[in-house]
Each structure stands twice: as structure tokens, then as C-alpha cells.
Amino acid sequence: MDVKKIFKLRAGYQDLLIPFLSIITSLVIGAIIIYASGANVYAAYKGLWQGSFGNARTIAETFVSTTPYILTGLAVAFGFRCGLFNIGAEGQLYAGALAAAYIGYAWRGLPHFIHLPIAIIAGIIAGGIWGAIPGYLKAKTGAHEVINTIMMNHIMIRLTDYLVKNPMLDPKASVPRTAYILKSAYLPKIFPGFRLHWGFILAIIAIFLIYYILFKTKVGFEIRTVGLNQDAARYAGMNISKNFVLAMAISGGLAGLAGAGEVLGLNYNLPAAFVSGFGFDAIAIALLAKSNPFAVFPSAMLWAALRNGAGLMQVRAKISIDLVNIIQAFVIMFIAAPNIVRYLYRIRAEREKAGVLLTKGWGQ
């Protein structure tokens, strides 16, 4: 795979510089806020570091959180490539978790090598369907996917709550949750003694697979063409509606896989108190990665580190955990805000270098 070429093609020097600078800048602003609140900046950041990369266990935990971030980040990025703003990764993740949990505890008597794949695929399909619905609505009625994916989130999160507390409730449990999945549906751990599971490997495979689909297949070519210029896609004989539905289905499938991974590799059941938030952070992750599948990895890792390190940071410097959220918010603001705005209002991106913009014109 000509990874290098793709990076050269799509990631200019500024594409790397700007995210880097915005991370640094937000850490600096975070430092100022910590200082202003009377806490020790050094202790806080040391806590953040140790909480995310301090020892083997925290590193493994960071990768545990990186896993769903990669998958949901890829989901949102894939939607972006087709010109779609999938805010619904959260709901799609829930759909995947629900389906995987159900298969995991209800289908008995299957060997591991059959039960686990079925549970995973069920998660992907459930997420895919949940994504495809707003895709279909957009294709057929023009209804904006942002509104519909948000609505689909609400529906799925409530639906999960209802199902887990009613038909799927494990009556023996002290808190509302589904029954435990069977051992035959477990995603195995990668290293004994650590919670890091094979979902991480699946996420890495997904990165390569999504890269391959986007840049090496007909489907990917169509999806990217639709994302960049719908008129040209139509001119070239591509079916725009089909691509909208397909892109949303694949996007939803990735988020569904994230949900399945959380259930099959980590929780082994689906509690009513299941809160992920991954699907929302994923929007920032995809933006930070500029929708490049490979860049989703470091971007997801950053989010995971911030999420995991926050606890120790709070303890060490006695500051509020909200501060980490503030830092995250700044990272998003610096890199993504202009992109979000441009995207939502379909404003053509202007070139960073004034010259290119100036010379690019009618008849030039």
C-alpha cells in the first residue's frame, strides 16, 4: 500500500502543523487556567501523563479507550468523505452493543469461532442499519443527515434503556443490566492481566480496510467523488442516493463494531447505565484527523489519553475533571471550528496560502 504517497497527496505540511500547534496551544491555555485556579501546573500535567502513559497498566488502559475512539472516529471520517456529517455514531454504537449483547447471551451452544464472529457481525449490521436509515432518508427526501442522526441517537439511547430494563433484563442482577454474555462470545485479551482486548486489533485492521475501501476500490472512488462534487459524480454516471446510503451504512457499521467491542471485550454485559460518549468525541477525532484513516489513530489516542489521564490529573493537582474537557474543547476549537462552520454551511474551503486562492478563478 502506498501509504506514503497518500500522506504526501493529502497531508501537506500545514495539515500536520496546524493540529500540532492547536494541541500545544490548548495545553498552554489549560496551564494558564490551572495556574489561575491556584493549582500546580506541573503536578497536573504530570498526573495527566502518568494517568495515560505512566506504566504498563495505564498504557494498556489508554489503548482500551483508543479502540472505540478509532472505530467511531473512522465512522465519522468515512461519512465526511462522502460529504455526510454523521453525528449519529453514538446511537449506532449503542445499536451495535445491543445486538452483540443479545447474540452474546441468547445464542447458546455455539463454539467460540462461530459465536464470536456472529456477535461481532450482528453489532456491525445493527450499527449499519441504524446509520443507513438517515442515509436513506437523505437520499430519498433530502432530509438533512445531521438532524436525523441526532434524532436516531435519542431513539437508540432510550430504546437501549428500555430494552435493558425490560425484555433483556437479567432478573438476577442487582443493577439493571442484561445477562452476561457467554464465554464463547468473548473477545480475548491480548496480554494476560490487562484489559486490552482483540477489539484493538480489529480497530487497527479497520483502519487499513477503510483506507483500502476509500482509495483502492470503485465504491470508495464513488463515495469520495460524491463527497467532493456531487454534480461531477452525477455527470460520471454515479448513483448519488446509493452512495449516501452505502456510506452511512459503512459508517454506522464501524460505530456498531465499536459498541460490540465494548460489550464483547470489556463489559461482557450491557448495563442500563452504559454511557459511552465515544460517538460524540468521534466527530472531533475525525476532524482532527482531517478524515484521513491513518491519522485517526493518533487522534483517537490523544483523546483516549486525555480521557484516561484526567482522573490522576484531578487527584494530583486537586482540580476539576472539567478542566480536561476544557482542554479538549480548545483542541477542537482551534482545528475544527472553522472546519465545522465551513462544512455545515457548505462554504468552499479557502486555501491557506492567499496566493492560491487569488490565482484560482474563472478562466485561470
Binding site: 504517497k5 497527496l9 483502492k216 476500490t217 470503485k218 465504491v219 472512488f221 467523488t225 467532493l228 462534487n229 454534480d231 461531477a232 459524480a233 452525477r234 455527470y235 460520471a236 454516471g237 492567499a354 496566493g355 492560491v356 486562492l357 487569488l358 490565482t359 484560482k360 478563478g361 474563472w362 478562466g363 485561470q364
Partner: protein, 511 residues
């Protein structure tokens, strides 16, 4: 034109300016000098380096080498603000206005005069009104820019420079976006500015207007200044030679037509535009193999929708279209493509190209899905690369490689990319809409040659153009379209410009 009033003092000069971009030498030791009260034209094909040179003068680029003198003093211009402080104003090829702001706000932006910390809009409005009146701009400072037609927006840009008291005005291809009437108006304004002693650098690649408006013309080619001539010492042919660097055939050469069987048959076709208005009203015509059928008409008589319907972009309301003997369903671009139809679309940025793609991907934009360009689900890159490299060479697209981003190509090379894709395979029918709009002389010549070659190879060609000269020089048969119908068909030998003009205006009777 008075050529001898106060035009002796040199107010600005560039000496030995060099500017390179990765892979291109955009400006190669260019000398340029501007005198007070003159209109000095920079003429050159797209990509010759005109905009680059002006961006250097305006402080947007730093030259690699070379010096700038203003009033005999050597200066270094770091930014547009610097340029303005030296009295240089620029109207860019692409306007730099903010659509959601008023004319007044746009003009004062970055140059607000303040009263107790607040923008003194009243004073600004007053000044804008005075200026607007003086130059007959008829601009209303309160109007929103987004509501103004392009021609007016351009005036806002000019006024913006005048408001900042520019004495040297740079206009980068101002007429590219204007109608002939608007261009005339612009020229009036330029003349009155000149009479007032302002100096103007006018950029264009259109020969006729350059001869009309300039006091002196400097020709750039491939980043070099080829020479300067006065309009009374030259003519279109000579300028074209200087621009392109070789003898340019402004006239199209073509052999006698060998007309074959009909390839495109259009019977009683009715098409609605996107608002549901009937714009093609039961049109009838045939195009035969070996024939160029030119559709002449004033813009807005259904040409655009006719082409879109024939190429599958708009559905038929009624009537039938037969391509190569078989009826087509319509509303399906791929169906038309698979019948061996090539389509050069009117709007190449909208339909013809995906600008952020490398050239390679645009060259297979329509054929990517079938063998040998893909195998089952995967794209077959070795074949795609081989084919696109071949097309790049064959159609003389100027780019460093097939991986160059299409957006960075000049308009002419972008259009060549479209033409290469469409004609780089076996075709029976070519539908070309406004194929040379906005292109430079060299590219126009090239595309005309290709269209004639296609016809000589036995293809049927439907040419739609609003350039009457283009229709007359290329077509074998001319159909005049008026209100969505062909009102007259005539052979190009018998057609005259005057007669076509009258038919296009709906004045001559149907026959």
C-alpha cells in the same frame, strides 16, 4: 485615445523579477515599467505568470530576485498594506468581498475611520457616495454585496482601491467575468481614471479588448517578458504569435464534410429546467456522422437544458432521442456514456472535473467502473496509471505528473483534461457545450483542432456555443435555437453573421 498628455514620468518599475514555485518558474527576470496616466496591459496565456507578477507588486509574494522601484526609490513591499501605502491597489481575479456585508462595510473593512472608538459609517458613506458619483458607478453603499451582479461587485472592488487613494490600479483579468456591455462600461471607467492621471495595469488574454483599451501592451510568455508594443503598431495575429510563441491559426482548417448516417436523432423533445419551466419545446434535429452540427443562439434559449437532457443530466418530458439507432431512456448519464457519447460540459468546474482530485482520477472519472480500469470491486491502478499517463501526453496536458491536483492546472489544461477523458476512447457522438469558454488562444486552437479531428474520424458532433465566430468556423450545419426550438437550419457556407444574429433574436421568420 490621447497618448501624449502626462505620460512621460515613470512612476513604478520592476527590474529582473524572479519567482519560482515548486516545479515552475512563474516569473523569469521580468522587467516592467509603468508611466503616469497610462493603461499598461499585461497580456499572456493562462499560466504565463501575470497574476504572480502582480501579487509580487501587491506584496502577497516575496520575489526570489529582483527589485521594485516607486517614484525612482527602491522599495520592498511586504504586504498589501505596504502596497496600499505606496498607492497601489489591486482588484483580484477572484473578488475578495464578503457577501453578507454591505458595500460600505466591504469598502471600509480594514481601513475604518473611527470616531470615539466607533466606526464612523456616516463619513464613510459620504465619501463612497462622492466617489461613486464621480466615476458614475451608481453604487448604493447600503446594498448587500451578495445581491449585486458580478459587474457591480467588481465596481465595489475598484471603489475599495480608490477609497484607499490608490494611484496605481491593478486589474487582474477583470473582463473574464463580464458581459460585453459590462466590459464596455468598465473601459469607460478606466478611461476616466486615466484622464485623471491614475495609472492602470490591466491584465487580459483577450486580444480584441487589449487592442481597444491599452496605451502599451507587454506580453508575457512562460514567465518571461517577450516584449512591449503599442496597439497602433500591432494587430491580433501578431499579439497572438507573441503570446503563444508560434504562428497561431486563428482560423480553423477543415476538409469537406463526409456526411454519413444519422447518429443523434432528436424528435419533438421537450425538457423542463430545474424550476419546472418548459425551456426546450419540442425540438427536432439530426446530427450525422462526419458532421459538426452547431447550435447557435442567445444564452438562455434552452441550449443548456437541451445538452443536459441529451447527456442524461435532465429527464425528458416528452419526445424521443435516438443515439446510434437505439432509443435512450434519458435521465441516466451512464446510459448515454455507454452508447459511445462524449460530453464536454458547459461548466467544467461543476460537472466536468473533481478539482481536488489528481489528474489521474479525473481522466477515469467516467470509465473507472468497467474493465480494464477495475477488476471486480477494486480499481486497477496499473492500468489506470498507464492510460492516464498516455492521455496526459497525447492531449498535451501541461502538468508535472498525473498526480498533480487538477485545481492547480490552468483553465486551458483543465479543459484539455476533460477533452482527453472524453475523446480518449472510441466515441460515435461528441456533445460539446461552450468548449472554449474562458480559455486562452492556444487552448482554443487546440480544442478546435480536436473537434475537427473527431468529426473527420467519422464521429457526429453537436456543438453548442454562444460564440458566433466559433459556430461559424467549426460547423458544417447550423441550427438556430430560439425559445427552445430550432427555428432554422442552414449550411455554414450559406450562413452569414448578420443573418444568424437576426434569427437568434427571433426576428426572421421560421422556414
Amino acid at each position: 485615445m490621447s497618448k501624449d498628455n502626462h505620460m512621460s514620468e515613470e512612476i513604478l518599475s520592476l527590474k529582473g523579477v524572479v519567482k519560482s514555485f515548486p516545479g515552475v518558474l512563474a516569473n523569469d527576470h521580468i522587467d516592467f515599467s509603468l508611466k503616469k496616466g497610462e493603461i499598461h496591459t499585461l497580456l499572456g496565456e493562462n499560466g504565463a505568470g501575470k497574476t504572480t507578477l502582480m501579487n509580487i507588486l501587491y506584496g502577497l509574494y516575496t520575489p526570489d530576485e529582483g527589485e521594485i522601484f516607486i517614484d525612482g526609490q527602491k522599495v520592498i513591499i511586504h504586504s498589501p498594506a505596504d502596497a496600499l501605502s505606496h498607492g497601489i491597489g489591486m482588484v483580484h481575479q477572484h473578488f475578495m468581498l464578503i457577501p453578507n456585508m454591505s458595500v460600505c462595510e466591504n469598502i471600509i473593512l480594514g481601513n475604518e475611520s473611527k470616531k470615539r472608538g466607533l466606526i464612523d459609517e456616516e463619513q464613510a458613506t459620504g465619501r463612497i457616495e462622492t466617489l461613486s458619483e464621480k466615476y458614475k458607478f451608481s453604487l448604493n453603499p447600503g446594498d448587500m454585496v451578495k445581491d449585486l451582479p458580478i459587474g457591480m461587485q467588481q465596481k465595489v472592488e475598484i471603489l475599495k482601491a480608490l477609497y484607499r487613494e490608490a494611484t496605481v490600479l491593478i486589474l487582474d483579468e477583470p473582463t473574464a467575468v463580464l458581459t460585453p456591455q459590462e466590459s464596455e462600461e468598465l473601459f469607460e471607467i478606466l478611461r476616466s481614471l486615466k484622464d485623471e492621471g491614475k495609472s492602470i495595469i490591466f491584465i487580459s488574454h483577450k486580444l480584441k479588448e487589449v487592442l481597444e483599451i491599452s496605451d502599451i501592451i507587454t506580453v508575457l510568455r512562460d514567465g518571461k517578458a517577450i516584449g512591449s508594443v503599442r496597439p497602433d503598431q500591432t494587430d491580433e495575429g501578431h499579439l497572438a504569435n507573441m503570446m503563444v510563441g508560434r504562428e497561431v491559426i486563428l482560423k480553423v482548417h477543415k476538409e469537406k464534410m463526409h456526411k454519413g448516417k444519422p447518429v443523434l436523432e432528436v424528435n419533438d423533445l421537450t425538457v423542463f429546467d430545474r424550476r419546472g419551466v418548459s425551456v426546450v419545446n419540442g425540438i427536432n434535429f439530426n446530427v450525422h456522422s462526419g458532421e459538426i452540427y452547431g447550435v447557435a443562439g442567445v444564452q438562455g434559449n434552452g441550449q443548456t437544458e437541451l445538452v443536459e437532457a441529451l447527456t442524461g443530466l435532465l429527464p425528458f418530458v416528452s419526445g424521443e432521442v435516438i443515439i446510434d439507432g437505439a432509443k435512450i431512456e434519458g435521465d441516466n448519464p451512464r446510459e448515454v456514456f455507454e452508447r459511445g457519447t462524449a460530453h464536454i460540459p458547459e461548466d467544467r468546474h461543476k460537472y466536468g472535473l473533481v478539482l481536488p482530485y489528481p489528474i489521474r482520477d479525473n481522466l477515469v472519472l467516467c470509465s473507472y467502473y468497467h474493465k480494464p480500469f477495475s477488476k471486480r470491486l477494486a480499481l486497477n491502478f496499473p492500468v489506470i496509471i498507464e492510460k492516464s499517463s498516455k492521455l496526459l501526453k497525447e492531449f498535451d496536458i501541461k502538468a508535472s505528473s498525473i498526480l498533480d491536483i487538477t485545481e492547480t492546472l490552468s483553465g486551458g489544461n483543465q479543459q484539455k483534461t476533460v477533452v482527453a477523458r472524453e475523446l480518449g476512447r472510441e466515441v460515435k457522438l461528441l456533445i460539446a457545450a461552450q468548449p472554449t469558454r474562458g480559455l486562452d488562444v492556444g487552448s482554443i486552437e487546440y480544442i478546435h483542432k480536436k473537434i475537427v479531428e473527431t468529426r473527420d474520424a467519422g464521429c457526429a458532433v453537436l456543438l453548442v456555443s454562444s460564440e458566433l465566430d466559433e459556430i461559424l468556423s467549426l460547423s458544417d450545419t447550423i441550427g438556430v435555437i430560439y425559445k427552445g426550438q430550432i427555428v432554422k437550419t442552414l449550411s455554414s457556407e450559406e450562413a452569414t453573421k448578420e443573418q444568424l444574429g437576426l434569427l437568434m433574436a427571433g426576428i426572421l421568420e421560421k422556414t
